[in-house]
């Protein structure tokens, strides 16, 4: 890493840029992931479309490791930057206000990015334990995975957990997506309104989308 790149990455703006970039890629991943999961609806009882999708993934062979590693790296970098940024932000105001109002475009989502982020991370770890590592280091066979999904989501506690998880992702992204545009410097009256709406819509779609599976499970798989 050249000195310039190092400087860039350690600067406030550089960190924000990396945050936005990894965030964007994570959003892309989440969209693909949602599409994959939507295949559950094709054959609710036997998950044939879902299993077919996963089988196709497995055709990638060792290349899937590369993808998985890349994804882990994305998360890792995003979380690492989040920790650094949040620590710096807290340090920047050691004495809090006795009374502080919020205004501008501050929202529940924007104020709690770190909180939702940490909860997502926690949820993610459980999620990996539930599915990715249910059979040890090697990913379960597609049919086993489907069975595992049925098993976990049929449990009302886990179903509730995944509803919340979906909503948290939605909230996080509802601010994150548009925030990333600003971090990239993409702010222009012609696009702002659209970006703002897309960001909320994306949040809602991700939240509803992911929350819909456990609800479906409660209705159909019990």
């Amino acid at each position: 890493m050249s000195n310039g790149t190092g400087k860039f990455l350690s600067s406030s703006l550089g960190k924000k840029f990396v945050m936005g970039l990894t965030g964007f890629l994570l959003v892309a991943f989440m969209i693909v992931h949602l599409l994959e999961n939507l295949s559950l609806y094709v054959d609710v009882d036997h998950g044939s479309a879902f299993i077919a999708w996963v089988e196709k993934l497995h055709l990638l062979g060792p290349f899937i490791w590369v993808l998985e590693f890349g994804l882990a790296l994305l998360f890792g970098v995003h979380v690492w930057m989040a920790l650094k940024l949040t620590a710096e932000n807290r340090a920047a105001r050691p004495t809090p206000y006795v009374m502080k109002k919020t205004f501008g475009e501050s929202t529940l989502a924007s104020r709690n990015m770190f909180v939702t982020g940490v909860l997502i991370l926690g949820g993610l770890i459980l999620h990996l334990i539930h599915f990715r590592f249910s059979k040890g280091l090697h990913a379960p066979a597609p049919a086993d995975l489907f069975a595992r999904v049925r098993e976990v989501l049929a449990n009302p506690i886990w179903a509730g957990f995944y509803v919340v998880f979906g909503i948290l992702v939605g909230i996080h992204v509802s601010h994150g997506f548009r925030s990333a545009f600003q971090s990239f410097g993409a702010n222009h009256p012609r696009i702002n309104c659209c970006v703002r709406r897309c960001s909320v819509a994306l949040g809602v779609i991700l939240a509803l989308g992911f929350a819909s599976f456990p609800i479906m499970a409660l209705i159909s798989w019990r």
């Binding site: 310039g4 790149t5 006795v98 501008g104 990239f184």
Partner: protein, 254 residues
């Protein structure tokens, strides 16, 4: 015209010096003519305090017409005021109700240490300016003013950025105590003008580096700064700074 009379309860941050711990103190101000400005109300309270033998409340102020940027503290959780595009010195008592309680606190930021009561040290802004907020033109070496043609829209946009009064309300209102709006405005002014092109990349890198070193926070893109800015400076200036910075990083000469 001759105003209504109102009484208020003030809870004010009192702190002897940068080294001391501070605390809130409560004062009753009675029978205030609501034609007064907010600072004049504090003047009246201060004269009463002096007469009683108590140390008056310290706050920065100078022009008292919203242009020097000296004044500023937080009133009930709002930097300057909940009114839009206004500094505390432009705030008048007619905006308050009889019997209201107001909480007055200094700007809170690591980079703006409290000096006394509501007065803080904003010299970090000067150091950021020194890092690159200028064009390196020697006195006497300028070309004829009209030999530099500048499209009116660019000149106007540069003016909108340059109208910053350096009061620090952006930092005070940001949940991360970030100075991005201040720095973004300066970077933008020069990025928009032909005069600023020569040092464009060096400038943005140096100013951001200084800003970071001063201990300001990062931007979460919530735009509280824009809402609090007495001059209504837009966050598009922050976006421009982000672009400038990215461009400068890509074309980095080492």
């Amino acid at each position: 015209m001759s105003g209504k009379r109102i009484s208020l309860t003030l809870k004010v941050w009192r702190q002897e010096s940068a080294k001391d711990a501070g605390k809130m103190a409560t004062y009753e101000v009675k029978d205030i003519n609501d034609e007064m400005s907010f600072l004049e109300m504090l003047d009246v309270l201060n004269e009463q305090l002096v007469t009683k033998g108590e140390r008056p409340i310290t706050f920065d102020h100078d022009c008292r017409e919203g242009i020097c940027g000296a004044c500023g503290f937080v009133i009930n959780g709002h930097a300057h005021s909940k009114e839009k595009e206004i500094t505390v010195c432009q705030l008048h008592m007619r905006k308050f109700q009889d019997g209201e309680t107001l909480v007055l606190e200094p700007w809170r930021a690591k980079a703006f240490p409290v000096l006394q009561d509501l007065m803080v040290d904003r010299s970090a802004f000067d150091r950021i300016q020194a890092a690159g907020g200028y064009t390196s033109v020697h006195t006497g070496s300028a070309v004829d003013a009209n030999s530099i043609l500048i499209p009116k829209v660019d000149a106007d946009a540069a003016f909108d950025a340059a109208t910053c009064i350096g009061c620090g309300a952006c930092v005070a209102s940001c949940k991360n105590a970030s100075a991005m709006l201040f720095v973004g405005a300066k970077v933008s002014q020069f990025a928009l003008l032909p005069q600023g092109q020569v040092e464009r990349e060096r400038r943005v890198k140096a100013m951001v580096e200084r800003m970071d070193a001063e201990g300001f926070g990062n931007c979460t893109n919530e735009y509280e700064c824009e809402a609090a800015c007495p001059k209504g400076i837009s966050v598009t200036n922050i976006a421009r700074m982000n672009r400038e910075f990215l461009k400068a990083a890509v074309t980095d000469q080492g």
